[in-house]
Assembly symmetry: C2
């Protein structure tokens, strides 16, 4: 049963996503920011006084984010090569080398950043990324999360483009406690971008790609109905029933970052998409026990799709 929560306020997403392409600038929704003489992006190890952010980032048009630092470095190398900048690893340095909270790599107009696991971790990264894009006067930025997930009734290796991120009660919303009030934000993603990505996937035709709801949870084990955590108080039938209810509500995969990603990007006028590969079918099991080479192949799929999308946008041959 979904909780009935009092004291909530719903925030209208007044930002017209398509309207972003008018001014093209990121919408910072914080009147205090302009009053600050310096902005330290602490978890990036960057700042407005210590770094020339416009010189470093103003050409950024695509931001790709994912949980694992190794995977985002691999993506940066891959896109660097795909865009014709060569395959020399020495050209890819971690821009956030001063801290180990996140990794950041740049390949021409593409920025690749790791965000760790879970809503709080990606949310810190997004606050600082959105401010970075603002300080650097970036325009018309598209941001895509490329991740891994558990599928529901999906063959492992399927790529899912999220239309709407839903919570553990299958609601298309993200709840955040701000001071001691609960704020609710929409988690709908950009429809045009979804269709563009789906078309791209059909053109490259290397793996199965579908569009569906993505459930975003706060926990990997109990929160996703896994029977293999240190704590589990439900039966395998309870788990199966829950996942079937999720499936009936349109959920095709489960991960841990999409809701806050969708909500924050929407509020700040960033065109955003979530593209995750499924590593297993949760109706069949809980443990991720696929061979290393198969896992590596699956993890490459969202990267291949996004590389094709970026090259298409830049007018490069795919």
């Amino acid at each position: 049963m979904a909780p009935i929560v009092a004291g909530k306020s719903s925030e209208a997403a007044v930002t017209d996503i398509n309207g972003q392409l008018g001014s093209g600038l990121v919408h910072i929704r914080n009147p205090h920011l302009d009053l600050m003489s310096e902005d330290i992006l602490y978890h990036f190890g960057l700042g407005t006084k210590t770094h020339d952010l416009p010189a470093m980032f103003s050409d950024v048009k695509f931001v790709c984010v994912g949980g694992s630092a190794n995977r985002m470095k691999a993506f940066a190398l891959f896109i660097h090569k795909e865009l014709g900048y060569g395959s020399d690893q020495n050209n890819i340095a971690d821009i956030c080398a001063g801290t180990d909270r996140y990794c950041m790599f740049k390949a021409g107009p593409v920025l690749a950043i790791s965000h760790g696991m879970g809503i709080p971790s990606i949310s810190i990264m997004l606050h600082e990324l959105i401010k970075l894009l603002h300080h650097a006067n970036c325009r018309d930025v598209v941001i895509i999360r490329i991740g891994t997930s558990g599928g529901i009734g999906m063959r492992p290796g399927t790529v899912i483009i999220t239309d709407t991120a839903v919570d553990a009660f299958f609601r298309p919303q993200f709840e955040l406690t701000v001071l001691d009030k609960v704020v609710i934000r929409s988690t709908e993603l950009d429809k045009e971008l979804i269709q563009e990505l789906l078309l791209c996937s059909q053109e490259i035709s290397q793996f199965n790609t579908i569009v569906g709801h993505t459930m975003c949870t706060y926990d990997f084990y109990e929160g996703q109905g896994r029977l293999d955590g240190a704590l589990c108080s439900f039966s395998s039938q309870d788990k199966f029933d829950y996942l079937m209810r999720a499936c009936s509500a349109g959920v095709r995969n489960i991960e841990m970052e999409s809701s806050v990603f969708a909500a924050m990007c929407r509020l700040c006028g960033l065109k955003a998409a979530v593209v995750c590969v499924t590593l297993l079918d949760r109706l069949q099991g809980d443990q991720i026990n696929i061979p290393h080479d198969v896992l590596a192949d699956y993890q490459l799929r969202p990267q291949i799709l996004i590389a094709a999308f970026i090259k298409k946008h830049l007018g490069l041959n795919t």
Copy 2:
């Protein structure tokens, strides 16, 4: 205003924390686990069939966890030297080198693990750590989170030992959605261990240490009342009022992992403590702008305290 939530069930912490020292084993609260022929600790890159977990870990008596991988490696090197095993960096290898989700280092009976940022990230690590300790037949394990935090009315550099972790409404509880039900867990920490740590700190007498409530939030910016995020809809007065309410409720510092850490360790019979240094006084500001050497000194304080505690337990001279 705190939300009124229906559909909740309160779980009694039936585990007697002090009783742990009887059998001394970790309490796995999952009847399904014994039925599994193999357990893959996916985010550690370890498993019961691929690794001899008792041979690797059965001597572990102290587990120290913290957000940053670099900080935990530094702690492992520090404790390695403090325990008389020498200062050769080559003796400290990342046991989780097969994955970049977490780092894990071992120095004799001490295990040091990074957990990333936020409740979901530390919760994945804890599920797999608790299972690891169970599979390895570890006994009488003490687990301590050593972290950084924002203080409320505290001089930066103060070390806070948490007595109870509270949520953003100052309630001593951790809420988790399991399937579609909200479960509430106690976040009280081990009183004896708190007093022992406080005494240790008085004995080493190098920095100010106090005991107080720690507020655990899901967000670093809006969720902690910061005025310097990409989004901020409240005034500086609203922020100040909220932090003062927190202070009146006994909150002395704010971080992002203590509630689930306290709740899970309590349920599994692990003696647990949270020891965080404050990097700034949130009543004075939001940005972390202290010089690098001061930051390094502050971050060392919980490590110094825990090293003294461990050496005392092992009967080594401090």
